[in-house]
Symmetry: C2
Subunit: 300 residues, 2 copies
């Protein structure tokens, strides 16, 4: 199961009860937090996201509407007695800032906080269940998007074929994880004779804050769900470019060119009270588009 | 008019929809912000406090539940195009932190932010309308309380007496501001012959986070309204002392010994869902006690 829950869908200045950017990505039993604007810990409480279950936090860039809530969350986790490690993937400069905030409060966290600079990317985490990559986007300051890939291991065993090739049943688990088998008399049984590929994992891509840039297409290609910012409606393309943001049509064009399954749009400018025009315009270019609404989970 | 509006009444970890510490003090046409926990700018929007009217912000100490919302507010004011100066009174270390946060965002504020370290106190602001002082309290890290004194200038002129002493009417304004008058033939008319003292201004004292300490009594003496923290109920005096906080009875005892007019209690621990016992216990010692409730304005 792969899903994304929106905690904040607004751009810089909170307005109309919309909050700055934060999302929770759920991948089976794993919870990832993607960006953490001010008030994210309150939004998590409101939408019954268990803070303690977060093990990985990804921060796209150091504009405040994407990270001002982080220090509060980190501190609260400590006050609540967390001892499990927390992994933070963010631009390198954030580490100094957090250390300074802890120092002035004379606070030591009771759990290990592992800092991973995004500059060292692109592979941030890779294991047999998921892979998270980052990719640069085009913003006023260094900024990264994230790509969450679900890995649907193990491979699917074909028991009839396994028996036919005389693989003993105690080896079946190892077959599922891709190993070949060699019989006692030295006969080699390649794994794919007796198994089939795992179901394809889902992919979620998050574009962070970015102006329109063709190079993004390659990075988000084939994603089942793409979140792309649409700070402005299509008539403000000039302002969008000037501020390193995108319009509805630009985001939808990226989705269309990258052949993604579905597009989720957010990071709405505070100048807009109503959002329906965002959906209308994006659908003109990419019909399978949804507005990112706070509190809603979007299944990938 | 002097009043305090509560924006956050909870201690460190937000809970039960209670927010970390923030208050707005209204003194006639002036608005002061006292502490600024995470989410303060959203609370200001919720309770229709106009952010742009704040000219002075006072931060008691550098535990996050008293300042994590500050950088968001400061940044939003900039994005909203503020050009009026903003005065920030806070522990000296906060300046470096704010500068670092602006630097990593490559952001310059479009308005002057004047930083005044509390270490230079005790008089933070003094003019003909109000005076704000800080005083040290007893917490795990350096922490200050604040005392807001309303000055009810000008003095009240007694026109009959002024005429009797032959003070010309063009000098009346100067009489109101306390000047003596000297007649053409050199006769000295002391100001208090022809004026009466201004109505006494009101005083609001804010104790910030503190353990029980007798020395506080002198600092908050005679305040019309005292806000004092009560993180715990009276049965947890040991825990309160260990964490440099107060119980209901301790706060009420300070109020009683200092002869204040009314006591407002807050900074409730997240362990308590219901608050009525706080009021009951404090009233056992100091009957004129109210709970600090978010969104409520308390007239001094």
């Amino acid at each position: 199961m792969l899903a994304v829950t929106i905690l904040g869908n607004n751009s810089a200045v909170p307005a109309y009860d919309r909050h700055p950017t934060a999302q929770v990505v759920t991948l089976d039993e794993f919870l990832f937090l993607v960006d953490c604007g001010e008030g994210t810990q309150m939004q998590m409480a409101k939408y019954k996201i268990r803070r303690s279950r977060i093990q990985h936090i990804f921060i796209s860039h150091l504009h405040g509407d994407h990270y001002f809530g982080l220090i509060g969350l980190i501190t609260s986790l400590g006050l609540l007695g967390r001892d499990a490690p927390l992994h933070l993937y963010a631009p390198a400069a954030l580490e100094q800032l957090i250390q300074l905030q802890l120092k002035v409060a004379d606070t030591a966290l009771p759990y290990p906080l592992h800092f991973h600079p995004l500059e060292a990317g692109p592979v941030l985490v890779s294991n047999d269940r998921f892979k998270v990559l980052c990719f640069p986007v085009s913003h006023r300051i260094p900024c990264w998007g994230f790509r969450f890939e679900q890995i649907k291991a193990p491979r699917r065993l074909n028991p009839d074929k396994a028996r036919a090739h005389e693989v003993p049943s105690h080896f079946y688990d190892r077959l599922k994880w891709g190993e070949d088998y060699t019989t006692k008399d030295g006969k080699h049984i390649p794994n794919d004779w007796v198994t089939e590929p795992a179901a394809k994992g889902k992919v979620y891509a998050y574009s962070a804050d970015t102006c329109y840039n063709d190079s993004l297409i390659e990075q988000v290609k084939g994603a089942d769900l793409l979140y792309h910012e649409t700070t402005y409606l299509k008539d403000l393309a000039e302002r969008a470019a000037f501020r390193y943001h995108c319009t509805t049509h630009q985001a939808a064009s990226i989705a269309q060119q990258a052949g993604v399954g579905r597009l989720l749009i957010g990071h709405f400018s505070s100048k807009y009270e109503k959002l329906d025009q965002f959906e209308t315009e994006a659908k003109e270019v990419f019909p399978n588009t949804s507005l990112a609404i706070e509190g809603v989970s979007y299944r990938v």
